[in-house]
């Protein structure tokens, strides 16, 4: 579904990504793990077309999207859950839930598309229903994270790009985020997940890429991550 080749990125003169290559197949949940500053957020921003200094190939379903403007990529089904949770202070919860347009189904086989109805969103996230008319700035961190996830699910994104959705959340909320991601996966959504929490990563994901100093150092499966957990944790500095 997603194929990235030779992706390099710069901040001014400083090169922060070096020929990153990765693949995510339809229906998979794949994580990108790596230390602080490894370049994980930059990879996602490049995929969204938000990073000006980038070079390389980005393909979605075999189509080169590397030159498309950001909004067109979103309309092809990329759903960004940014690391700061992307809340708007001047929009109510309901307004920002319905801000992204609902994407049409891609094919006739996919009759209804992936988009969640508002009723379904509110059923899955009762807290958002309770707080639907308040500005998102008054939500707690966990509630903002739920909003960020609900927003791209309602949009009907086919490939979620989640940037550390569990960061700073209580264990209960981490479980809840895991449930949502698994539920999305069951409905055919593909996920590229940036994660520092290895335990969480192995619970929700199928495969993992280890990013080090802006390059993919290793591709790992779940059993490899479990058996090398101590080594990896030490490497990640956690």
């Amino acid at each position: 579904m997603l194929r990235v080749e030779n992706l390099s990125a710069w901040y001014g003169e400083a090169r922060v990504l070096r020929d990153v290559a990765l693949r995510v197949d339809a229906g998979e949940v794949v994580t990108l793990v790596g230390r602080n500053g490894a370049g994980k957020t930059t990879v996602l921003r490049c995929l969204m077309g938000l990073h000006a200094g980038q070079r390389g190939t980005v393909e979605l379903d075999g189509r080169d999207i590397g030159r498309l403007p950001t909004h067109r990529r979103a309309r092809l089904g990329l759903g960004w859950v940014p690391d700061d949770r992307g809340s708007y202070a001047s929009l109510s919860v309901a307004e920002q839930l319905t801000l992204p347009p609902v994407l049409r189904p891609r094919s006739s086989a996919e009759r209804t598309g992936l988009a969640w109805s508002l009723e379904r969103v509110f059923e899955a996230f009762p807290v958002l229903y309770q707080r639907r008319s308040v500005p998102a700035s008054t939500l707690s961190g966990g509630e903002q994270q739920m909003l960020a996830l609900a927003r791209v699910l309602r949009m009907g994104a086919r490939l979620l790009l989640c940037d550390e959705p569990t960061e700073g959340l209580s264990p209960l909320l981490v479980t809840q985020v895991g449930d949502i991601l698994r539920q999305a996966k069951r409905h055919g959504v593909t996920v590229l997940l940036v994660e520092q929490n290895l335990r969480f990563a192995t619970e929700v994901a199928d495969r993992h890429y280890l990013l080090a100093q802006g390059a993919v150092a290793e591709a790992l499966d779940n059993s490899a991550v479990r058996s090398r957990e101590r080594e990896l944790l030490a490497y990640l500095g956690i």
């Binding site: 969204m48 938000l50 403007p69 950001t70 909004h71 979103a74 309309r75 960004w80 940014p82 992307g86 708007y88 202070a89 001047s90 929009l91 307004e95 920002q96 319905t98 801000l99 992204p100 347009p101 994407l103 927003r151 949009m155």
Partner: protein, 291 residues
């Protein structure tokens, strides 16, 4: 007491002009991150356009009130497409210089044709005379301005808070990049929003024609106060700019009545300095949007 009420009313009327102009500046700044220095010149063009339409084509005030804002909005959209948009990719300084230079050009074009003296513009017959507001009589035209400006501000507020376009404009104003990442073509809204802001300036200009001196420099004097208003309200805050517009109108009017002249003349800037010291992002601004 009557004197105080009269000062208050006059303050609200001048505040109405500040509010309309600040509102236009705020939507333009919010959406484009461009400080439109030509805003005062567009206001002047609105007033002059009304004058020329009446003097040379016999077009009434009411038609001018409709046509000038539309005409200026189209002119603004053209400018945005042709120049502002292109300069937007460069340093913000370029648009600063462009809108500033445009102001000088527009002023001089008008000056060379009509001179610097003020042109008279008669109050429309329907709005001449005065109305009894209980404690005192008030010129009908000024009452009209106040009611009209409040209605326009309320309409804009309603559009922003209750329509899809309003949500998109607010979202793009607050976080343009994120909004594009949600599949919204922010660029498509930029030109109409610029035109809308310019049209509001033109509207204020037409309203000013019967009441204020119509001359090429009428916008230059006013716009400095309007910039202070926008800063006090909080850059990019739409509600803040309107509230600060009326507030500054009141403060000025009371200052002129009750404070020594030297204080009255600088009162706006004293208020601005005080606000900036206490709340650097302005009264209704958010810290991040002040950056």
């Amino acid at each position: 007491m009557t004197g105080f009420l009269q000062n208050t009313f006059n303050g609200l009327v001048s505040g109405a002009f500040y509010a309309l102009l600040a509102l236009g500046l705020a939507v333009i700044f919010g959406m484009l991150r461009v400080v439109n220095f030509a805003h005062g010149a567009f206001y002047m063009l609105g007033a002059f356009g009304a004058y020329v339409l009446l003097a040379e084509a016999g077009v009434s005030f009411w038609w001018a009130l409709l046509l000038m804002p539309i005409g200026l909005a189209l002119f603004g959209m053209l400018l945005e497409r042709a120049v502002v948009h292109r300069l937007g990719r460069l340093d913000p300084l370029y648009n600063f210089l462009f809108t500033f230079g445009l102001t000088l050009i527009l002023q001089d074009v008008v000056k060379s044709r009509y001179g610097v003296q003020s042109s008279p513009y008669a109050t429309p017959a329907e709005l001449s005379g005065s109305v009894d507001l209980g404690l005192f009589d008030f010129p009908t035209y000024r009452v009209f301005i106040l009611v009209f400006a409040v209605a326009v501000c309320a309409l804009v507020w309603w559009l922003l808070s209750h329509t899809r376009v309003g949500v998109v404009v607010r979202a793009a104003t607050e976080r343009p990049e994120l909004t594009r990442a949600f599949g919204i073509d922010v660029g498509r809204w930029v030109t109409p929003v610029f035109g809308f802001g310019v049209g509001l300036a033109g509207l204020a200009g037409v309203l000013a024609a019967p009441m204020r001196a119509v001359n090429p420099l009428m916008g230059a004097d006013l716009i400095i106060v309007v910039f202070a208003v926008v800063v006090i309200g909080g850059l990019g805050s739409i509600f803040g700019s309107v509230a600060a517009g009326f507030g500054i109108g009141l403060v000025q009017s009371w200052g002129e009545a009750y404070a020594p002249p030297i204080v009255a003349q600088t009162l706006v800037f004293i208020v601005m300095a005080a606000v900036l010291l206490l709340r650097p992002a302005g009264l209704f601004g958010r810290e991040e949007s002040a950056a």
